[in-house]
């Protein structure tokens, strides 16, 4: 005879307690096997998910229960679809989605433009032509207004030199330019042509040199939030310390207070970075350094079911 359903563990299996994904096996072995009377008891006890219609004597689903399940069940689905896609298509679609969503999602544009290699960013632009019959830069330029437009268009249009050759005196003078831009009153840092020029055209090794000189000159960290434009600050972090950037957004997505959108970042980071073992290794190390626990452990604790297993598998590619 089946046992009564345990409210606590069933809610866990649904990730009703701040988890993510669904524990498919638990659902099969408990809910699947359950007697209908026990299910009724579960519904009555589960005030978060069901509401009593006393007049008509039945327990109906909260809308948000249905939505919640849909969301949690779809995490594995979305991860797999994204994973199977060509990286170029993945990134092109991410860009398009960010544009459609509007300003609050523009950090995605910065992320893709700044953390991909020159060839991968170029590939995303090619995929964009193929998928949307227009160029990435024309779409961004026509949808983004205000001070961030030049930065975003410049970032996605870059085809950065990827060699190690750097002209140090050039880097030093550009560090000075940045320092002056940050110090001056008046025009916002992101609106300064020279700042945009440096960030959207220089190679990453060159920018590392600029970073070092900036910190020496100014005595403060270029990555300490020098601009009112969060996109500019993010661009700096993505270009100079991508492992830190990714660790931070992973942490945000795994946070108990994370909202629906933020939680989705988890899939995105894992799927788009898992093929780059070196980078993934760095992200794991950085995450550990910043938050005191390992990424695999955090995933193990918080995530459930197939979604969890998929993420762990992606993570283990860089072990």
């Amino acid at each position: 005879m089946a046992l009564p359903l345990d409210l606590e563990s069933l809610t866990e299996a649904f990730s009703g307690n701040l988890g993510m994904g669904v524990d498919e096996n638990a659902l099969i072995s408990t809910l699947g096997k359950s007697h209908k009377d026990h299910r009724k008891l579960f519904r009555k006890a589960s005030k978060g998910f069901f509401v009593e219609d006393e007049e008509r004597a039945f327990e109906k689903c909260h809308d948000h229960f249905v939505r919640h399940l849909k969301l949690e069940f779809s995490r594995f689905n979305n991860a797999v679809v994204m994973w199977a896609m060509h990286p170029w298509e993945r990134d092109a679609r991410l860009m398009k989605k960010a544009l459609k969503k509007g300003e609050e999602a523009y950090n995605l544009i910065v992320e893709v433009a700044c953390t991909r290699s020159a060839e991968d960013l170029l590939g995303a632009r090619k995929a964009y032509h193929s998928l949307f019959d227009q160029s990435m830069e024309e779409d961004i330029a026509s949808h983004v207004h205000g001070p961030n437009r030049k930065l975003l268009v410049g970032l996605v249009s870059a085809y950065r030199y990827e060699g190690n050759k750097v002209k140090d005196d050039s880097a030093k003078s550009e560090a000075k330019t940045l320092a002056e831009a940050v110090a001056s009153r008046g025009e916002e840092v992101v609106e300064k042509d020279e700042v945009v020029r440096i960030l959207t055209t220089r190679s990453k090794p060159h920018l590392q040199h600029v970073y070092k000189h900036f910190n020496d000159i100014k005595g403060s960290d270029l990555l300490g939030g020098v601009s009112h434009s969060s996109l500019l600050n993010e661009a700096l972090l993505c270009l100079l310390k991508p492992a830190v950037y990714f660790s931070k957004i992973l942490d945000a997505s795994l946070n108990n207070e994370a909202d629906k959108t933020t939680k989705k970042w988890l899939t995105r980071v894992f799927v788009t970075r898992a093929d780059h073992s070196d980078e993934m290794k760095e992200i794991k190390e950085e995450y550990n350094k910043l938050y005191g626990e390992t990424l695999p452990q955090r995933i193990q604790d918080k995530i459930k079911g197939n979604y969890r297993d998929f993420l762990i598998t992606l993570l283990s590619k860089s072990d």
């Binding site: 160029s135 830069e137 870059a158 085809y159 060699g163 020029r197």
Partner: protein
Amino acid sequence: MATLKVSDSVPAPSEDAEQLRTAFEGWGTNEDLIISILGHRSAEQRKQIRQSYHETYGEDLLKTLDKELSNDFERAILLWTLEPAERDALLTNEATKRWTSSNQVLMEVACTRTSTQLLHARQAYHARYKKSLEEDVAHHTTGDFRKLLVPLVTSYRYEGDEVNMTLAKQEAKLIHEKIKDKHYTDEDVIRILSTRSKAQINATFNRYQDDHGEEILKSLEEGDDDDKFLSLLRSTIQCLTRPELYFVDVLRSAINKTGTDEGALTRIVTTRAEIDLKVIGEEYQRRNSIPLEKAITKDTRGDYEKMLVALLGEDDA
């Protein structure tokens, strides 16, 4: 259409390389031989000859040419022998240097090449100069010119024929408003010119003409003659919509200038001989009542002239 004449059966690259070697031996240089070979080979063939020459003689053909030739002729041979992507990388790099700086050349390369060609030029630029084209252009241009040129050289335009007519109408209206008030450096004008596909831009300006009864280039003539930015803007639009007319204009002023601007002449002939020099020549004759070849031979001499004539497909080789 191209003007380059290549015979159906060309010798093997190694034979060509050997022949070229003989052109350098002894006193002086056999320029006629050089012209008769290099002036009648396609880009792919020239690439193979260079390779073969290097394998056989341990030296870059271009270095040898540099040693043996001089002046306009050498420049023409040098530009011609380079692969198109390398050529564009060289031209744009020169255009960012102080003594040879030219916003016009930057715009010309950015706007008259296909998206793929421009991309290849950017790749060749990385390889040759260990920097990106855009970082050099950004660093060496300022103000409004930088605002226009950096987006132009970094564009990766959609190349399909699809056109959004509603958008064309909107953007034609927008452009008209800005130009009416002489806001030539307006962000949106630059945005449209530097990001839209060529098909879309053409549709936009056709719409402009329909709505306002005059061509955009005519409207832009109202501006100040000394306004260099306006002049660049006009050329940009011309390059994006009617490149052959742009080239005709540049050729005409290059040839008519007292002394001839060999730089521009060489650049246009070598970069277009395999693309559309024929059409350009036809347009040139239509507008100037004299064949392009005649105009060139009137104004140039010696091996330089012979090389240009060969590339025009008008020599007897």
